[in-house]
Symmetry: C2
Subunit: 495 residues, 2 copies
């Protein structure tokens, strides 16, 4: 059984995520997060917030509408450019993404080909409808945004935003003034984005409604070759995939040899650190892929995708670092007629933008897959403790005598310091199984010895090793264990 | 100048909220939250989460899609019932909410009148278009949901959810099974809802996109006359507005005399406590309005609106407690064909639902208005410290000598324990003014004495009283002050 199938089974069984509106059969490309999935997602979002918004005193989170007027997307270019090439089957009427149907046919990448090129390719290779084998029509383009008609007259046209970024751009100027006219200024948005994907697929990886966490850093292009904390990353090695080769290269070298600006590299290094140090993604499953000039959007001066390697799905983009220059603000200035220029350091100009963009659902899925583990008939999720829905679980061995009362007391006390869950249903074995599957790093069991000697057993999710500890030392032992100390060793030093 | 205007001015000036896509003129009914507004909103949401989701070990937050298939809204009844009566002007084409235009004309409430009744009323009173004085056509109904067409063929119809509640209902059965088949089971959603309001107005109070925080409690109707923690609220007095009279009545009396079930009253009391004790809403500005049988939806067995009194806008609904019975799950069972029955306590049945529903933006606006204060030419927001965007601010008196370095040291230390902001731009007076307006409860200034004697001044936002404290006692004094101790008194006891 494929790992991705196992993860989906686990996600359904424990309610991490399921098809949205499942009792109605759902619609392709929509998922709901269940109780444990939502706890995990909130922790991931809060970690992101703390790490990226916390990087600089002048970085802030804002919240912009999901629905924005049509003019915004004229300014951003989405009306014209945010399109997919599609081919309709003349027989059954099914629409296909033209580049994808070609890719499935020839196992090559056809992204970025023009409508004419794709039409020619389909004819040349005589590609048919994958559903009914009918003939495919000429390729045309389809805008991927969801339009909405406002008001009773339905005359005001608006769209669901296809990315959170535009919410930050249209808010830039007011915030620059409110936030004491300083650069760099960071505006972050954690929120939903919506895309009418023609063939949504690959679980949480290509949805029609998904969560982005994006940070737009507005800065002075004259300062692109500097960063106050450059020293912090100068010797740090980036894991770069470029021209079909993987190499480790220090930020200093990337600046000198690859001619990537320091301001950009500083944040790229921070992004890598977030994945490796905060999310514990293994180095071997991680890479920064430098996009070629053909691959990247014309307005992106430098563009790295951050990719994670999944078992069956291969290398998948989960984030990106985009040097968007003044492209977006210029577009909004042109269409809105409102100057986006600022006066800063004795010069009038439109700031440049560095975008740090993250797909929250993709990262969450990757975390589930990379941490999925089996040990004989045991399944467990070895998520870092700070991301686990619960940090610990408390069990009464049996639901009789004085045991539940004692277990509840311990639970109430631990709840003050840890994200704790109380579990008294089913056999102990079943409860271990359940907590392992939802990744609870440590479980505490109260038994008859707890009553007689005031000790409990503590079990480590990963090793299943157990130690017995006096309740008066419980908080200390748990804190140390969650900070990374070995449970077996702790058991020998603390009683 | 009206208080609401002053609040809007402040909100714009400091970036709490502004018209969405402002540089394009925006669309009616959409607002963005700025840096400080978002900090306030997150704190409000987290407080809600901690209080309501934290009430019971079997209550959980989930996250459901904003977009849901059409069938969901057949099951919920929104396709048929979620409509507004509208009258179109025959001359200029403007649509009017028929009940609102009658209300403006006769200053009475016409909510709930039928299409025929409204058509007759408009004719009888010869009500004209408020824009061009043209004749109004017959009243018809307009569905308030935003429809969306999915896929390239645009053949799958879906809607943006008009309330978060349905996301919990369609997820109930899976979660009941995953979460160990216990009742009561609570599923909370904090998220966006979307309504195509014909005349959005009153700032954050009637938006087309807004944030709800809703908790759906699924329970056994046989247990409606009990609650495990009933004793906690039995003597607690509810502030009830009923039959045009305000009265304070204990939960016990409300149960016995008003025949409201205990299970309902327990949560109604908790809602009141949340507003009074957690959000510090003054008792005089707060009421639980019991809806009459004509006012409430037919499926709501008991329905109280929670209202806050605003200066110019009057009593406004900010939350509601709705005993929805098995109406929703029954509807989904009928349309989806999937049984929603559970087996619990030796009986097979569809659980009943108690809905605790909160309008996050309305509450946030009310907090701004009720805490808006003026003192000569000083404007300050006296929000509770736990809701203030920042808990404290650190100022260097001047940006020279050793002062900024010392101030930064103090700031870095305090940041570990408090939500702190560093402010060194403009005169001290301007900085006090700024922090007062964004409601920072306490400011710490470093001056020459800080260098020579290791003391700082601490200033209280509300009284503007200042004390001087040794930095070694700073954390203790701040903690005590934020817990509610008087600063002047603290200044006399701690040096």
């Amino acid at each position: 059984m494929a790992v991705s199938d196992k993860v989906v089974e686990l996600a359904k069984r424990r309610g991490f995520f399921t098809v949205s509106s499942e009792i109605y059969g759902g619609i392709a490309g929509f998922y709901d997060y269940g109780a444990y999935g939502t706890l995990l997602k909130r922790k991931l979002e809060n970690l992101w917030r703390k790490y990226f918004v916390g990087m600089d005193e002048n970085f802030f989170e804002i919240e912009a509408s999901n629905i924005m007027p049509e003019k915004v997307f004229e300014g951003s270019g989405h009306i014209t450019n945010f399109v997919d090439p599609v081919a309709k089957c003349k027989k059954c009427g099914t629409f296909h993404r033209a580049d994808q149907i070609m890719e499935e046919f020839l196992h090559e990448n056809f992204e970025g080909k023009t409508v004419e090129e794709l039409t020619q390719l389909i004819k040349k290779h005589n590609v048919k409808c994958s559903r009914c084998k009918g003939e495919l029509g000429d390729v045309s383009v389809l805008n991927m945004m969801f339009p909405l008609a406002m008001g009773a007259g339905k005359d005001t046209v608006a769209y669901l935003r296809p990315e959170t970024a535009q919410g930050a751009y249209v808010n830039f100027l007011r915030h620059f003034n409110i936030l004491r006219m300083r650069l760099p200024l960071g505006l972050a948005i954690i929120g939903k984005a919506f895309r009418n994907e023609i063939s949504p697929r690959q679980l949480l990886l290509r949805q029609r409604e998904f969560t982005q966490a994006e940070l737009q850093i507005f800065f002075d292009p004259r300062e692109v070759e500097e960063h106050d904390n450059w020293k912090e990353v100068a010797k740090y090695k980036l894991i770069i995939y470029h021209a079909k080769k993987m190499e480790k290269i220090s930020c200093d070298d990337a600046n000198k040899k690859m001619k990537i600006p320091k301001f950009y590299l500083y944040y790229l290094a921070k992004m890598q650190k977030f994945f490796l140090d905060e999310l514990n993604i293994p180095e071997k499953k991680f890479r920064l892929r430098k996009l070629t000039d053909e691959e990247k959007a014309f307005y992106n001066k430098v563009h790295f995708d951050i990719e994670i390697q999944l078992e069956e799905l291969g290398w998948k983009e989960v984030a990106g670092c985009h040097y968007r220059t003044d492209h977006d603000l210029k577009g909004h200035q042109l269409v809105s007629g409102q100057s986006q220029e600022i006066f800063y350091n004795e010069k009038k100009f439109i700031p440049h933008v560095l975008e740090l963009s993250f797909g929250v659902d993709r990262i969450l899925y990757s975390l589930l897959e990379l941490n999925y583990a089996e040990d004989k008939d045991r399944v467990y999720l070895k998520l870092p403790a700070k991301l686990s829905p619960f940090t610990l679980a408390v069990f009464p061995l049996v639901n009789k005598d004085k045991i539940p009362k004692k277990a509840e007391e311990i639970f109430e006390e631990l709840k003050k310091h840890f994200d704790a869950i109380y579990d008294d249903s089913g056999s102990i074995g079943k409860r271990y199984y359940r907590q392992d599957e939802i990744s609870t790093p440590v479980t505490i069991t109260c038994d008859y010895q707890t009553i007689s000697e005031n000790t409990v057993t503590i079990r480590d999710r990963d090793s299943t090793h157990q130690i017995r500890v006096n309740t008066k030392n419980l908080k200390t032992v748990l804190t140390k264990f969650l900070e990374g100390e070995n449970l077996e060793r702790l058991g020998k030093t603390v009683k």
